[in-house]
Subunit: 623 residues, 2 copies
């Protein structure tokens, strides 16, 4: 291997990246800004990262010859996760291999806007008498006097007006240019800017929810709290593995790898800021606050903190309290005095997103035993009982985000979103048209429907042929078959001779995902000494939560089936809401810190009953 850089070019689009030889094509594509599917985490088993080389293609490896047909290999098809470039190359990336575009993700919640800005950033119009022979007070003293007059709550004894050297360097000239009549912009008692009153545009805050899979970002008016725009994108780190453990492993290789993971998420953050500003007409230099929430690993990677200790038991986070830093330290070009705040965490994998969710849902004040379940790539569960908040994280896996499922996909155009049945299964497809895959809510609906119609047993077996009972409608019976690998599967759609199927293996993934969450709930209930039907309310949260139907979520055991429907509420993306609150309210930030100190972290693996509970939860509950 030499130090010579080689060039990879990707079509359509022609994006290029310069790389050291030996890098996988997935990594190369990430550098060129393309996120290629890797539901299997780069193991070469799912075949979803197929690309076709134009011209000379690298020699196929053993995994590729096993997975791809000889004719495909001849045509230049390779698996992007397996192929390493040793010379310049050009590759076509089919749309199906790309994570792409905007997708349907819940970015709102019941709790949006319920917390008003509390003067975290204030803009105070001031009219100061200019200095003269009878009053030669220093500029900052002059401003402090005017603030004490303008603000009833300003305490001259304790509120010592301060400013950074950069602000001080321009202040004298600006005060004189405005004739000592202008607006002071304050963060608490810190002067972060001074401007002419008539030059005043709104000031903004940003809130980010950095999910393992999805990054949601909101732009808010920092003085009114009004939302100016929301965007969501894929987390481009997905190219390095779709779960947190693969990213921890990657980041642990060396410092360059950690910087690389930090770099791609910061690129995505900058891209989101750009889009939000473009779409709302806001000036990025007027963004004074940016708040990040996310799971512990995502927060670590964002800050460039080595997450290695999170990668193996006992799963240790670096920090618990929130981390405040200059936004510029994250390479963000916002207001020069903009502050970034990273949410506090509970510990282990129970991260800032859980705290943000608890904050927005006000779980600390819930009446009666209450449960919050946040369904994402990791599932976080919090139980509130008798004033104690217990939180646990489960490796639910990315099944409910459409990954590790043969026909799985993100909730974007072509995804089956809901499934109902009468004589046959009926699908509603995002964007209309023929289905190209199953997203999380469709998956839960499908399992619920197959369980109810009798082609899926509570032990997770799909039935075919003679195993099917007489009550199964003929049209559904026709969908059940034995697949190429000799395992049962359900045909969802056939197009151009290619079948979209739901396989026995897919059922197992759903069982694992739902079982992990269900077992986690069981352990928290046990430790609190209560039973499922003691729960007065269950809050389902998360970007995907609102699209899940309650009855099917209960039918597959994701939520205790003992509960009455009306105790279950979809709260939407509460983590994102909590981040928005904290972006405009210092009191909300204090509440978040208090929650992090208060929540009891339950390490599920440490509970002797967890293995048994998990095994039992693998069984779909009786209807």
């Amino acid at each position: 291997m030499t130090d010579t850089l080689i060039r990879a070019t990707f079509y359509p689009g022609g994006r290029t990246a310069l790389l050291r030889p030996g890098m996988t094509l997935i990594e190369a594509a990430a550098r060129a800004g393309l996120v290629i599917n890797t539901p299997c985490g780069g193991a070469g088993t799912c075949g979803k990262c197929r690309v076709r080389f134009d011209g000379a293609a690298p020699q196929p490896g053993a995994v590729e010859t096993a997975r791809l047909a000889a004719s495909e290999i001849d045509q230049g098809w390779r698996l992007a996760c397996q192929t390493r470039l040793s010379a310049d190359g050009k590759a076509h990336v089919p749309r199906a291999s790309l994570f792409g575009g905007r997708h349907q993700i819940q970015t709102a919640s019941d709790h949006d806007g319920k917390r008003a800005p509390d003067g975290e950033i204030r803009r105070i119009p001031l009219e100061m008498p200019p200095p003269d022979m009878s009053d030669a007070a220093p500029d900052m003293t002059r401003m402090e006097r005017a603030l004490a007059e303008a603000l009833p709550d300003w305490n001259p004894a304790s509120d010592a007006l301060s400013a950074s050297p950069d602000v001080l360097r321009v202040l004298g000239a600006r005060l004189r240019a405005t004739g000592f009549k202008g607006a002071a912009i304050l963060r608490g008692a810190r002067l972060i800017d001074y401007e002419a009153v008539d030059a005043a545009q709104p000031l903004y805050a940003l809130a980010f929810d950095i999910g393992t899979t999805t990054v949601a970002a909101a732009l808010l008016d920092i003085e009114t709290g009004e939302e100016q725009g929301v965007v969501s994108t894929m987390n481009p780190q997905t190219a390095y593995g779709d779960d947190v453990l693969s990213r921890i492993a990657y980041a642990g290789r060396d410092d360059a790898a950690l910087r690389e993971l930090q770099g791609v998420i910061l690129d995505a953050v900058r891209g989101s800021v750009e889009r939000l500003c473009d779409e709302s007409g806001a000036d990025a230099r007027r963004i004074c606050n940016v708040v990040f929430t996310g799971n512990t690993t995502m927060q670590h990677l964002l800050c460039g903190f080595n997450p290695t200790a999170l990668g193996a038991a006992p799963f240790v986070s670096l920090h618990k309290r929130g981390v405040a830093l200059a936004a510029s330290e994250l390479g963000l070009t916002l207001h020069p005095e903009a502050e970034a705040y990273i949410f506090p965490v509970v510990g282990g994998f129970v991260g800032g997103d859980t705290i943000a969710g608890l904050l927005a849902a006000d779980m600390a004040h819930a009446a009666g035993p209450a449960l919050m379940v946040d369904i994402g790539t990791n599932g976080e569960i919090v139980l509130m009982h008798e004033g104690v908040l217990r939180a646990a994280s489960t490796a639910a896996g990315p099944a409910f985000e459409g990954a590790r499922i043969s026909g799985g996909m993100r909730a974007t155009n072509g995804a089956i979103e809901t499934v109902t049945y009468t004589d046959d299964l009926e699908f509603s497809v995002i964007g209309g048209g023929a289905p190209t895959g199953l997203c999380g809510s469709g998956l839960i609906d499908l399992c619920g429907a197959l369980l109810r119609v009798g082609v899926l047993r509570n032990d997770g077996r799909l039935l075919v042929g003679d195993e099917l009972g007489a009550e199964v409608p003929e049209a559904i019976r026709q969908r059940m078959r034995t697949g190429a690998q000799g395992e049962p599967e359900c045909v969802l759609h056939v197009s151009d001779g290619a079948a979209l199927t739901f396989t026995q293996r897919d059922v197992r993934e759903v069982q694992l995902g739902a079982g992990a969450i269900r077992a986690g709930i069981g352990i928290l209930l046990k430790q609190a000494g209560i039973a499922p039907d003691d729960l007065k309310q269950v809050l389902i949260a998360g970007g995907f939560g609102s699209f899940i139907r309650r009855d099917n979520a209960q039918r597959i055991g994701l939520i205790p089936h003992e509960l009455p429907h009306d105790s279950i509420r979809f709260a939407g993306n509460t983590a994102f809401s909590g981040a928005k609150w904290v972006a405009v309210s210092r009191a909300a930030r204090r509440d978040a810190e208090a929650l992090s100190a208060r929540v009891v972290h339950v390490e599920l693996n440490q509970d002797p009953d967890f293995a048994m509970e998990f095994a039992l939860a693998m069984q779909f509950p009786g209807s």
Copy 2:
């Protein structure tokens, strides 16, 4: 003028600087690190900045042809303050034209070391249980627990351990490398470092007193407060004018000029740090605090704050409270988390050095009416009476620092330091040997001696010939003559046919300097409603203060002559002491801030009696 840079080379030494054409040779020399004398502020009147060109010399200007002999001009002699380079040039700088070397300056005071460090920076050895399955607390929480155990005054509720992202980025790995047994270095509740216990070297603080003329710097052990070394150097901004007004004018030209002045003082600061570290064997990366005091203008220039509003009435400072910033923001490479603190000011020209002096001398608790006089290029005067501290600044001028006096020089080798007389004047010379000039204390002594012996009248006239009374000893009588300009002068020494003289004009400078201070004292006393002999103590402070003799200072009217000798005390460099206190004590910093809020700034020019008081004070008092 083009953008082509030209090169100036200075000998001996061969230092070079690249410059834009049109820059004066003084500025060019400053860029090359050489400080050339400019007692006259670059007016071309003193002739003390002579340099000799080697090879082609620029055309002499009118000022140079008037000041230099034709033969000198032919030999390549020019005045560095007048000559502008338009092409590459080489110039010899005679030793006499250089501000140079170390000089005798008071850097100690009665108050050194009287304030103990109070844990501004603490180093706490910790032994933490490493994480295991039964305790997966985050790293920072683990450390916080250990701190709460180790520190009786640690309050887990209010002391939230925080750290910068840079510290957090390395903390996890360091904790594990040390087996969770090491020393936490704290600033309050902020973790600024963590290291193996056995790797521990001392931690340091720096204190700087940035005078208009002199920069004094001390290195202190931050935990014990012990002084590790002191250095003093010229303020290289002297090349831009020897008083604050010329520097304010220079800085006000444009941003580049301001940056230039900031740059040269920061260079001097870095040079001092280097010398302190070299001489004491300290590692600069273990310096955690650096505190700067100085007059308002010096502090502004150090920070890059535009001092223009200080340059004309009503003389407005930018800030009053102290300014805290990262040391790295001043381009200092100390500990990565090192903090710089710039002293609070009173207002106008009454700056941080006055507050530092008041702090060290504990003037706020003085019994009875007390006066503090700090004699420097500016003279600062503070009167404490009935709990009120009144402060004023006078443009005493640099006479007492040896400037603007024909034979004036800094207190370095060859300077007349004390003057006594019996039958003749007797001089003690710094370093021994023949005198080459007069420094401040010598100047005061000389005036006192000439007044007592009867060759200098109370109205400031030097007497010659028949005007001299019979009581004047013959040897002294011989020294009095009429000089080349037709004015009286006193010959101090003749060497190789060149005379070192003290002229009528020099007497006027002393009258102006002493008169300004004396008038300032008068106004403060008047405003407080007390008379000079009400004063219970007078504290003379300043780098030059300790070398001044009380009787002569009183004889020339610098200090009220009504006071008994024993009420006058030389406190030494109290400003520097105050800076040292604040460098190791957070409580001292709070006291400094409180003083800045408390001291009443008296603008002398605003007092209707000042002009008269000044005129009267120009008269030397009766003996």
